[in-house]
Symmetry: none
Subunit: 291 residues, 2 copies
DNA sequence: TTTCTAAATCGGTTTTATCGATTGATTATA
DNA sequence: TATAATCAATCGATAAAACCGATTTAGAAA
C-alpha cells in the first residue's frame, strides 16, 4: 500500500470512471487499472464493482476510502507543517468567498500581501454549496460565507459580523430617502435578482413565501457585477446583504424591515485538519480589519 | 512521498542508526540512506542532523514524525477495517422482504445476530416492485420475494421453496375442515384482500380472470397485520400464500385446488456486484433453516 | 597516528510503475 | 438490429526507481 495508490483510488472513487480518473491524474488508464488491482490484491477485497463497463464502489471501498483520505491528509499536513516552518516564506492559501463578502477578502489581501509577499493566493468565488463542496474535497483552506441552516459536525465555524438584507437601488431613484422598506413595498417593484443557486436568493425567497408575497422578479442573473450594472440603470432593483455593495458608488442599500432580516457572515473550515500558518495569519489580519 | 519512505524514516528515527534501521527493515543501508535523502529532498528540509557519523533528529524531523506516524496509522486502520469486514465484525446488510416471507427473515435474523452481533441490519418491507426498484438502485443487498413473471438478466435468482396459495380464514369458520377449496367456491365468499400493489393480489386476480370468475372483494388493504386482524373476526376471508400465516394463531389456510396455485419464494440479488461476506453468511443461515 | 565504524556515494541489477496498443464487453446510435 | 463508440482489462515493451554490494569519506576510538 502506497500513498500513490490511495490517491489513485480516491480519484477513481470520486469520478467513478477509470479513464477520466487516469487523465485527471495524468497517468494512462492501464496504469490506473493495474494500480487499483494491485491495491485490491493487497487488501484482499475488491474496492469497485465492475458491472459491465461501469464501476461502482463496494461496501469495502466505501469504508476504506475514509481511511485512505485520512492517511493522505496526515501526510500532506506534515508536509504543510514543514513548509510553515519556513516562516511564511512559502505556501499557498486557497480561500472560497461568496461574492457578497468580496470586499472583506480584498481588503485583507492587500494588507497581508504587503507583509508576506511570497505567499500565493487562490481566491474562488462561488455559491455557498459550491464552496462547501470544495472545502469538503480539500480544495479550499477556508470559506467565507453567510450562515447555513444546517451546521455540520466536521466544520469549524467563526462568526464575523451581521449585515442587514437590503433593497439595493440606484441613487437616481426616489426611494433613496427611505430609512427602511417592507417586503410588501418591494413586491411592487421590478426586481433583478441573483440566480437561484445564491444563498441570498434562497433566503429572500423563503421570506416572501412566509409573507404570502410574490416578488416581481423580471431578471435572474448569476454574476453580481453584471447585476449591479443593471441596477445602476435605475430600471430594476435587487435584494442583497448590505455589505455586498460596500465601496460601490451610485448604489444605495435600504434595509428591509421585519424580523430575521439580517445575515451572519462566517468563516468555515475543516476541523481536525492542520491549519496552515499562512491561513492563520491571513485570517487574523482579516478579522482585525472588520472595523 | 510514499508510505514506504515514512516507514523507513520512523524506523531510523526510532533507532537513530541507519545501519541498524536498515537491517530491521530488511533492506540495505545504502537503500535506507537513499530513501531518506529522497524524502528530505521532497520535503525541502533535512529530517536528520548528520553530526559526524552520528545522526540526530532535526526539529523538522521531530515535528514531521507525528504526521508520518498518523498517516501510516490511518492506512493500517483502513486495512484492519477490511480485515474486520471479512471476519464479520463490521458491516451493514440491507434486505428487502415481501410481508408474506416475514417469518423466514426474522427466524434467520435471530440466529444470525446471536453469532455475529456486530453486523447492522436494515429490513425493508415492501411490494415486489418497490423492492426491485430499490435493489436496482443499490439500496438493498438482496430481496426475498415470490417469483416474478419477467426475469431480468442482471439479476441472480435462487429458488427457496414453494408455498400453495390458500384461502385464509378464522378458526371459527365452518370451512376449516375442508382440505382444499376451489376458486369457484371462494368467489361466493366475502373477501378482504391485500391492495393491488401486492404481487399475491395480482397473481390471484389473473387466476380468477382466467376462470371467468368474479371474486367478491369487499375490502382492500395495504397492511397485512391489519388484514389478518380483520380475518380473525370471521367476517371476511382472504387469499394469501400459506407461508404468510405461519406462526399465526387463530387462522387456518386451506390450499386452493387447481393447477399453478403455488408460488415460489426466491432470493434476488444483482449479478456482478461484490457480495458482502455478511450477506453471504446471513443467507446461508437463512437457507439452512427453511424447516 | 592507526583503527574502527557509520553514513554517503557509485555502478550495476532487479523490480515495478508506466505506456501504447489491443481485446472484450457493454452501451449508445443510426 | 446492426454499427459505432466507450470503457476496463490485458499484454508486451520501456523507462523509472528501488535496491544491492562495494567503495569512499569522515568522525570517533584506540
Amino acid at each position: 500500500m502506497e500513498l500513490r495508490q490511495l490517491k489513485y483510488f480516491l480519484k477513481a472513487k470520486e469520478l467513478l470512471n477509470f479513464t477520466e480518473a487516469a487523465s485527471a491524474l495524468f497517468i494512462s488508464q492501464s496504469t490506473l487499472s493495474q494500480q487499483i488491482k494491485q491495491l485490491e490484491d493487497e487488501l484482499q477485497v475488491p474496492l469497485f464493482n465492475r458491472i459491465g463497463k461501469r464501476i461502482t464502489l463496494t461496501e469495502a471501498g466505501d469504508l476504506f476510502a475514509v481511511y485512505a483520505q485520512q492517511s493522505i491528509n496526515k501526510a500532506s499536513d506534515g508536509l504543510q507543517l514543514l513548509k510553515d516552518l519556513n516562516k511564511l516564506e512559502t505556501g499557498k492559501v486557497a480561500i472560497g468567498v461568496t461574492y457578497a463578502l468580496r470586499h472583506v477578502v480584498t481588503k485583507a489581501l492587500i494588507l497581508f500581501s504587503s507583509e508576506y509577499p511570497k505567499i500565493q493566493f487562490e481566491i474562488i468565488f462561488g455559491t455557498s454549496q459550491e464552496l462547501i463542496h470544495k472545502l469538503n474535497h480539500f480544495q479550499l483552506d477556508v470559506i467565507l460565507t453567510f450562515e447555513e441552516i444546517a451546521s455540520e459536525a466536521h466544520f469549524k465555524y467563526l462568526e464575523l459580523f451581521t449585515s442587514p438584507m437590503a433593497l439595493v437601488t440606484s441613487s437616481e431613484t426616489a426611494l433613496k430617502n427611505k430609512k427602511t422598506i417592507s417586503l410588501e413595498e418591494i413586491s411592487t417593484l421590478p426586481l433583478a435578482m441573483p440566480a437561484g443557486g445564491f444563498s441570498t436568493t434562497q433566503f429572500i425567497s423563503k421570506a416572501f413565501e412566509k409573507s404570502n408575497l410574490h416578488p416581481n422578479v423580471t431578471i435572474e442573473i448569476n454574476d453580481i457585477p453584471t447585476l449591479l450594472e443593471l441596477i445602476k440603470t435605475g430600471k430594476w432593483h435587487t435584494i442583497l446583504t448590505k455589505t455586498t455593495i460596500e465601496n460601490e458608488n451610485d448604489l444605495y442599500a435600504i434595509p428591509i424591515s421585519g424580523k430575521n432580516m439580517t445575515r451572519t457572515a462566517m468563516l468555515i473550515s475543516l476541523k481536525e485538519v492542520y491549519e496552515k500558518k499562512a491561513v492563520k495569519a491571513f485570517l487574523k489580519i482579516m478579522v482585525e480589519n472588520l472595523k
